[in-house]
């Protein structure tokens, strides 16, 4: 049935079982970094080897896979990984968030709310949130074991002392299920609230560091902060130049070499969907309301 010369989804069955055991343990202990025997993958570290292994271990023939990189479906990394699984697992691939059952992501969470039939797989470069201030792995493990997380606030304190506000804008640490402090991978802190009480299962894979961790569906995820400096999402001054969305995360795109720029949705599928519904940003002409009135 499978014409591919590869085993289904590239990894051998024993490896997938090993990874699934790590995933089950990670789901059982939300936010806890479970070690696993990360394999060599046919791509370099930093290109999503952890996420790819998690995806390979959970993918079934009926799944529909979407891969995004910085919110976009059409960047090299996303295209390569999508092609990799299309070839090795022969699964259906998509760029539509709504259609996908498994979404592998680097640096973003889709704008559209995820559902209980979806799994979000994050590519994680550095899984240890405490490393910034405590380089000793033995010490950070003890700190996790004893829930000694004062150091995480030292990092935020330093931000406020230096910039007047919490300047950490991605990799923003969260507390999961009231216990473990976790690095959500380099997603913008704009996306942090989407992790809280999410319908979908969220899995995190760090290939180089051989760690898997998870947020089960409907888990409380709290971004760390101070009483007098509460957590705030990034805010944007403009709506999306293409679709006019004012509630999405925007990328700055340089349009020419004379300082021209525009702000557009980083989630390309979301942006396209809105445009298909008739929403228009200022670069694409009239607001839909104005156009309707003209018709």
């Amino acid at each position: 049935m499978n014409a591919s010369p590869y085993n289904f989804a590239y990894l051998d069955e024993q490896t997938k079982r090993m990874i699934r055991r790590a995933i089950l343990k990670a789901i059982a202990i939300p936010g806890y970094q479970v070690p696993f025997a990360s394999r060599e993958m046919p791509m370099p570290y930093g290109w999503g080897t952890g996420g790819v292994q998690v995806t390979a271990a959970i993918l079934g023939p009926e799944d529909v896979l979407k891969v995004i990189d910085q919110g976009a479906d059409d960047t090299t990394n996303a295209v390569s990984i999508r092609a990799f699984f299309a070839k090795t697992a022969n699964v259906r691939v998509t760029t539509s968030t709504a259609e996908a059952t498994v979404i592998q992501t680097r640096h973003r969470i889709p704008e559209m709310a995820l559902t209980s039939r979806q799994v979000l797989v994050y590519q994680v470069p550095i899984p240890e949130p405490l490393r910034f201030l405590e380089p000793r792995e033995t010490e950070t493990r003890t700190m996790h074991a004893l829930a000694e997380y004062g150091l995480m606030h030292v990092k935020l304190y330093e931000d406020i002392a230096r910039y007047g506000h919490i300047a950490t804008s991605y990799d923003y640490p969260v507390e999961v299920a009231g216990r473990y402090v976790m690095d959500p991978s380099p997603i913008p802190k704009f996306d942090n609230p989407k992790m809280d009480n999410c319908d979908a299962l969220q899995l995190f894979g760090a290939g180089r560091e051989k760690r898997i961790y998870a947020i089960p569906p409907h888990t409380r995820v709290v971004s760390l902060d101070f009483d007098d400096h509460p957590f705030e999402r990034n805010k944007f001054d403009h709506p999306c130049a293409l679709c006019g969305a004012s509630e999405s995360y925007l990328d700055e795109v340089v349009t020419d070499d004379k300082g021209g720029r525009m702000f557009v949705c980083s989630d390309t599928d979301f942006c396209e969907g809105r445009r298909a519904e008739g929403h228009r940003g200022h670069l694409l002409g009239d607001e839909p309301a104005a156009r309707e009135a003209a018709e």
Partner: protein, 262 residues
Amino acid sequence: MSAEPNITPLLVATGLSKSYGRRMACEDVSLSIREGEVLAIVGESGSGKSTLLNLLAGRLDADSGQVHYRMRDGVTRDMGTLTEAERRVLMRTDWGFVHQDAAQGLRMNVSAGGNIGERLMAIGNRHYGDIRATAAHWLTRVEINADRIDDKPTAYSGGMRQRLQIARNLVTAPRLVFMDEPTGGLDVSVQARLLDLIRGLAADLGLAVILVTHDLAVARLLSHRIMVMKGGHVIETGLTDRVLDDPQAAYTQLLVSSVLAA
């Protein structure tokens, strides 16, 4: 009149021994210390004084012997039976440890305010303004201008680093502070200032201090009691001025006579 001092010892060590291979670094050492008391452990390099300090502070496991400590709730506990979590909480609340090398006792890439605030955040303080105000207060208390609060220790002089290290330890009002050659490696004039500061803080806050030093002048200035060590053994112990002015043991006499008037 002041209240009668609490005469129940704060910390009691009995029969502490530690060897590295066949070399006894510390053999059968017992001592006790009360609140408000400064005990100096003196000796030359290799005398076992630093090993003893680390055994007392729970930074090293003893081969044999016990350390008992009267916790803040008044209950005296055998340190060996504390869980790792309890021990670490104790170390960052009711105890302090001042290292000779400030880089070991400070986070060198974190601002002074963050260094002082860390213990507060560790015990759950979540108000930035309060943490910062407390840090500024303690900076002033150790004679560092509060406008240096956002500088990193790398921008501080050696003497300031030691004072910052002390502030970082004292912010949770510990009752017992361990000090390992706190003035070692500092210029004489800087030493004098630091010694005077330690002396004043210990007296004002009623701290118990266990101080390791090879400098008898430091011991005389700071300590009430002194313990002379050599080869892992306690050679002589008693009131600091008695031991230095009328040493009984041959080794103590040698030690006292081999330094300029302490």
